[in-house]
Amino acid sequence: MNRLPLLLCVLALAACSAGLEPMAPQARPALADDEAGVWLAADRAEHGLQSAPHRVRDPALNRYVQGVACKVAGTYCGDIRVYLVREAGLNAAMLPNGVLTLQTGLLLRLADEAQLAAVIGHELGHYVERDGFAQMERARQLGDIGAWAAVFGAALGVPGLDSALETEAALDILAFSRDQEGASDVFGLERMAAAGYAPQAAVEVWDLILAEAGADGATPADRLLATHPLPEDRRERLNAAAIALPQPPEGRGRAAYRAALAPHRAAFLADEVRLRQPTATLRLFRYLAERDGLDAVLAFHWGEVHRLRGWKDDRRKALATYARALALPDVPVETHRSIALVRRALGQWRGARFAFQRYLAHAPDAPDRAIVEAYIAEVL
């Protein structure tokens, strides 16, 4: 059928609904506004987050990330509330009421404070531009047009008018969301640069996302890309804009970021291992090792991926990776237990016993002491 009338409808809509005023600092929508309803729903979600067991409550890490958020947000500092959510995988989200949720898997992947600032700047853009509300409004308007089309289509004897519009509407929402993401990229870049961070970090975050996008199965990046449609040139556009800005060499904040993350890094690595997506996790660990160098904690968890996958070559690879961990400073005591478990599975009884004993020597108060002692007795 002729698509022209449909396109005209959608174009007319695009013209008349263009542009909400940006949200002012320290503002809330008036109670009688439609937008207040969106905030009400977000406030309720925030109540849920406050008592959520998977929220990271460590005051030091929260203070640090909230501090970075404030640097980027400037006058919007008081409007943005950071919630750290203990979850593997790479994602961040902004609710319409200024609740910024950051997954711990994202914190694990970022290299420095400038990259964190880039993510926060992008999400801040969604808040300031009121993107959540704008998108809902647009979906509502498209739905309204569809309903009218159904009635008039039936009255005029033009069947299928509403379902044809439905497709048009779905495409329109995708394009709308893509435009919002692009605008937020630019907004975030300007914000982080104004706060003194190196803008190139924003491009690096994109490289991080793209590096994961090729992995197998349901990768963490899949979920993000499902809501963030990725035109070929989004990274390139960001890159072109970033290159034009000054790159202060002191604007990386690498040491501060690593120090803030350090107490939690082992736990966040373990979360990734627990996803049981070995190919994707190995790809991530390789990326982290190439970027930051291999340390004992990363090597141990790398070995764990092999041990838990247990394919043909994995036991040998696990042992080789644990051996690399042992050669590095500050090796996690669990490395000995994992070596013992692999050797036990391989029937290497003496090696297993030796490693179990070393585990208990390093962790005499281990909660699993009884079962480890039972293993030692078994392999005697």
Partner: protein, 232 residues
């Protein structure tokens, strides 16, 4: 079937649905030490929405806040008339991390009761045909410690109103093709939990196209409809 036929079939079904609901009662009388039974009114789970012409629902903040106030007062008055003491708890009760599991469990029970007791007959469970048989378990005592009440009354309600655009669409649809378009709806579930045993001793389901929680008088009517056969 052409898409618009499907749409009208759906609309006709919605119009036919009219008003439904029901209740289930496990006890005829509430257990009391002396005097009237004390019931804690849990934070209302209430959302008032505006239905757009297209049928999507959008929460409305000022309506919802007014409805929380109206329904709380109306429920207290309705309970008083039935000789019961209903005491609202603080509205931020569920932000307590220690209460989160109970809150989630109760929500799950609400969903189960709606689906398997009051919902579509194909979802009725043979084992749930008689007594309600849902319970929060002994952990409900935690709520008892918080509220100092014998029972807890939970009310979850969604109340929607047709927008001007949807009303206009309804008129156009009636005139042009002779089919009605569904308007607003009031649907909800009230449950009474015995805080000593954790058992859900009473449940009432509301699903109708009348009611207006934005107005105090109409909210009182909803409260009466909700508590109609609450044990005393």
């Amino acid at each position: 079937m052409p898409p618009f036929h499907r749409l009208f079939l759906l609309l006709a079904l919605l119009a036919l649905a009219g008003c439904a609901g029901g209740s289930a009662r496990e006890v005829a009388q509430l257990r009391t030490a002396d005097g009237p039974a004390s019931i804690a009114l849990m934070p209302l789970d209430l959302t008032l929405t505006r239905r757009s012409a297209g049928g999507s629902e959008h929460p409305v903040a000022d309506w919802t806040l007014a409805a929380e106030r109206n329904l709380t007062l109306a429920l207290m008055a309705a309970a008083r008339e039935r000789g019961l003491r209903l005491q609202p708890v603080r509205h931020d009760l569920w932000t307590q991390p220690s209460l989160r599991p109970l809150h989630l469990l109760h929500r799950g029970i609400e969903g189960a009761i709606l689906a398997h007791r009051f919902g579509d007959s194909r979802n009725r469970l043979p084992a749930k045909a008689g007594p309600l048989g849902w319970s929060l378990g002994r952990e409900a005592a935690v709520l008892r410690a918080y509220t100092a009440a014998d029972y807890a009354l939970f009310v979850s309600l969604d109340d929607s109103y047709a927008s001007a655009g949807r009303k206009a669409l309804g008129i156009a649809s009636l005139l042009l093709v002779g089919m009605p378009v569904s308007g607003g709806r009031q649907t909800g579930l009230a449950t009474l939990v015995d805080l000593q045993s954790g058992a859900v001793v009473w449940a009432r389901h509301l699903d109708r196209s009348t009611g207006d929680l934005r107005q105090p008088a109409a909210a009182r009517e909803t409260a009466d409809a909700l508590l109609e056969d609450l044990p005393q």
